[in-house]
């Protein structure tokens, strides 16, 4: 199965290990992973700032890089949410529509397409707080939302619970936003930092050693807050745990 890999701009720059783990993980499951070399960004920073029109050229480049692939996978819920739901700056050509529809967030892809259940190489004997970003939770619908009465389900937990030794803690507010929110994290810094501090304290209070998420942006923000508060929490992307990272 051929999979085109989209590595968001900030993961490329700040969290290359997440990208590496994603490649290795997909290859463990027999995927042929292709990384189109001219990719840059999905357009989200412009779109979320109100400058959708300035995202058009970036989105066109995205389509040029990824057209023709049946599966485009990215280890970033917020970017995939933007691609599937907000890539509307340009004309909705058949190519653009196909690229949008074929883009998957990593957990979605593993759970729904590859339908993997086992990660025999993985072991993570730690107490873990699972953070579902708002994009993956409410837009990509990878888990039950607390506002809605619906049967419990959680794609990331379904994957992680097969990892040897892993133990989930329960935060008091499992799906309250952590406050990253894109440029919000600097334009509304007081509230953003307060939200981040509350989030990491909640996990810490309930026994977490690690916070794991499918979104590096949330992790980056929470780690920033936790380190400033000297909480001793560690942060890791779901791709890394599933790929066998030990710590």
């Amino acid at each position: 199965m051929k999979v085109a890999l989209f590595i968001p701009c900030f993961i490329n720059a700040f969290f290359p290990d997440v990208g590496i783990a994603t490649v290795e993980l997909l290859e463990r499951f027999g995927c042929e992973v292709v990384y189109p070399l001219d990719q840059t960004c999905c357009g989200q920073p412009m779109g979320n700032s109100g400058c959708e029109r300035d995202a058009k050229a970036t989105e066109d480049l995205f389509v040029r890089n990824f057209v023709g692939y049946d599966y485009i996978v990215a280890p970033s819920g917020s970017c995939v949410h933007h691609i599937r739901d907000h890539m509307t700056a340009g004309e909705q050509t058949p190519e653009l529509r196909a690229v949008r529809a074929n883009t998957y967030e990593l957990v979605e892809f593993l759970h729904d397409v590859l339908k993997v259940k086992d990660f025999p190489w993985a072991e993570f004997p730690h107490k873990v707080g699972l953070h579902n970003s708002c994009g993956t939770l409410r837009s990509l619908r990878t888990a039950k939302m607390s506002e809605i009465e619906e049967p419990f389900f959680s794609k990331p937990m379904a994957l992680l619970q097969n990892v040897k030794g892993i133990e989930f803690i329960k935060p008091d507010r499992p799906d309250e936003c952590c406050g990253f929110g894109g440029t919000f994290c600097v334009t509304e810094e007081p509230v953003s930092a307060q939200m981040g501090a509350d989030k990491v304290r909640d996990h810490k209070r309930n026994g977490a050693e690690y916070i794991v998420s499918a979104d590096s942006s949330c992790l980056m923000h929470q780690q920033g807050c936790a380190d400033r508060l000297e909480l001793g929490l560690k942060f890791i992307h779901i791709a890394q745990i599933l790929n066998g990272a030990r710590a």
Partner: protein, 457 residues
């Protein structure tokens, strides 16, 4: 009009630890009380769809339903007035009062009258206006706007209220026991109601089929204000219309459950006509609502039934308080309504959001709040009212990110990646990140570099 400084206000609010902790906790409790109550109703999601469908239908036939409502109200003996804007609403109310030589008006909670700034208008012209709702009265005595549409003084602690009451209604400044404060307000307000010339209520739902108005309250002040004086005026936003009495079954089941986690308000009052010897007036108010109905991306906001649940669940609202939004309507609903009143003044509100979508999930009438917030950002940018972002720099970012070579030139190494962060894009200095957070370490190579290296092998 100067732009609302949500950031500045929120910073002050957050610095007051006691207040923000209580505020966040109290409103989160309303959210969890709501969850417990509504999750016990098997048909809740179906009710949301029905409520949304009834409102959408009504709004697409609003002129006809308003005409039907007026016909029925008039034949019930009610005098129906129409106000195209806030100023006209205030003038109509003033005229009704002066025609009856009314000098003292007692009123229950009405966000519409706040929106119209009715109180200062009437007070300037010699009418005494008494807010009888406890939370509204606290805010009136403290000369502040309501901070929440359901619990207007939610941001205040009992000690704050004690101070306010001691300087206005003469209670002991050290008496901050809540039952004593509530009793003091009851005792001081009752005589005002008995001596009032007229009473005013808002309106939660206006039923076209009956020509009547439904008001949902808890304290008894609305029923006192409307049943003691012989003149009753109800201010009604035109979007409050619903077609039939039976539709109240849906909305009354939902309103208090979603707002407070309680099955119903203590009083669900239905006003159809004046009592013998009395007078009843309805004032139907547009004030920008018909314009909003014509906005393809935003007319769903007219479905709002003012439950406040979006505020309770909003993590930004809970940590900044309603007063930081600078308007009568705050939180998520405020962010999508207020820009229609004044785009420049409220241009910061759609950015006081992480677009997390929790508000949309709790909205009883399925308003797509967080999606409208995204759309407002596009309009604000188009009209050159971006509060934080340098629009020209966004253009540059758009150019750099659309060109692989320019992009790679900009990130020659992982270190320089820091430069691509929006220092040039935002008006805030980059070290804003570092005020309460550690800055991430820059890794040795980018992912792309690693991939190319691996492929060489």
């Amino acid at each position: 009009m100067k732009r609302v400084d949500h950031v500045g206000y929120s910073k002050k609010f957050i610095a007051d630890e006691k207040h923000i902790q209580f505020h966040d906790k109290r409103l989160w409790a309303l959210r969890t009380d709501r969850d417990t109550e509504v999750h016990g109703i098997v048909e809740w999601e179906e009710l949301r769809s029905l409520a949304s469908g009834i409102k959408e239908h009504t709004l697409t036939h609003l002129a006809d339903y308003l005409a039907e409502f007026e016909r029925n109200a008039t034949s019930n003996g009610v005098v129906v007035h129409w106000a195209k804007d806030a100023e006209e609403h205030n003038r109509i109310v003033y005229d009704i009062l002066t025609n009856r030589k009314a000098k003292v008006l007692v009123k229950s909670k009405s966000m519409l009258t706040e929106e119209c700034e009715m109180r200062p208008y009437l007070e300037e012209r010699g009418i005494t206006v008494v807010e009888t709702d406890l939370g509204e009265q606290i805010q009136q005595l403290d000369d502040e706007m309501p901070a929440h549409i359901v619990v207007p003084s939610v941001h205040k602690l009992a000690t704050d209220v004690a101070k306010i009451f001691s300087r206005t209604i003469g209670t002991d400044p050290n008496e901050s026991r809540i039952p004593a404060l509530a009793e003091a307000q009851r005792q001081s307000t009752r005589p005002l109601i008995l001596n009032a010339d007229a009473g005013m209520t808002g309106c939660n739902f206006a039923v076209a089929e009956t020509g009547g108005v439904t008001v949902c309250t808890n304290e008894g002040n609305a029923d006192l204000s409307s049943n003691v004086p012989s003149l009753h005026i109800a201010s009604i936003g035109i979007e409050k219309l619903i077609p039939k009495l039976e539709h109240l079954g849906v909305f009354i089941r939902m309103l208090s459950r979603n707002a407070l986690g309680s099955p119903i308000t203590q009083y669900t009052s239905h006003f159809r006509g004046p009592r013998e010897g009395g007078e009843m007036h309805f004032v139907l108010v547009d004030n920008g609502r018909s314009e909003r109905l014509g906005m393809e991306d935003f007319w769903y906001s007219l479905k709002c039934i003012r439950c406040g649940a979006c505020m309770n669940t909003c993590p930004v609202y809970r940590r900044s308080s309603g007063l930081s939004y600078g308007g009568v309507y705050s939180g998520p609903i405020g962010a999508i309504i207020n820009p229609t009143f004044d785009l420049k003044k409220y241009s910061s509100l759609p950015f006081a959001s992480t677009m997390n979508g929790s508000c949309t999930n709790v909205c009883p009438v399925r308003i797509n709040i967080h999606e409208q917030i995204y759309k407002w950002r596009q309009i604000i940018a188009e009209k050159n009212e971006l509060p934080f972002v340098k629009k020209e720099a966004m253009k540059v970012a758009g150019v750099v990110l659309s060109s692989p070579t320019l992009f790679r030139a900009a990130i020659k190494s992982a270190d320089t990646a820091v430069a691509i962060l929006p220092r040039a894009v935002l008006y805030n200095p980059l070290n804003v990140w570092g005020k309460h957070r550690e800055v991430p370490e820059a890794p040795e190579q980018t992912f792309r570099d690693w991939y190319l290296e691996r492929n060489k092998k």
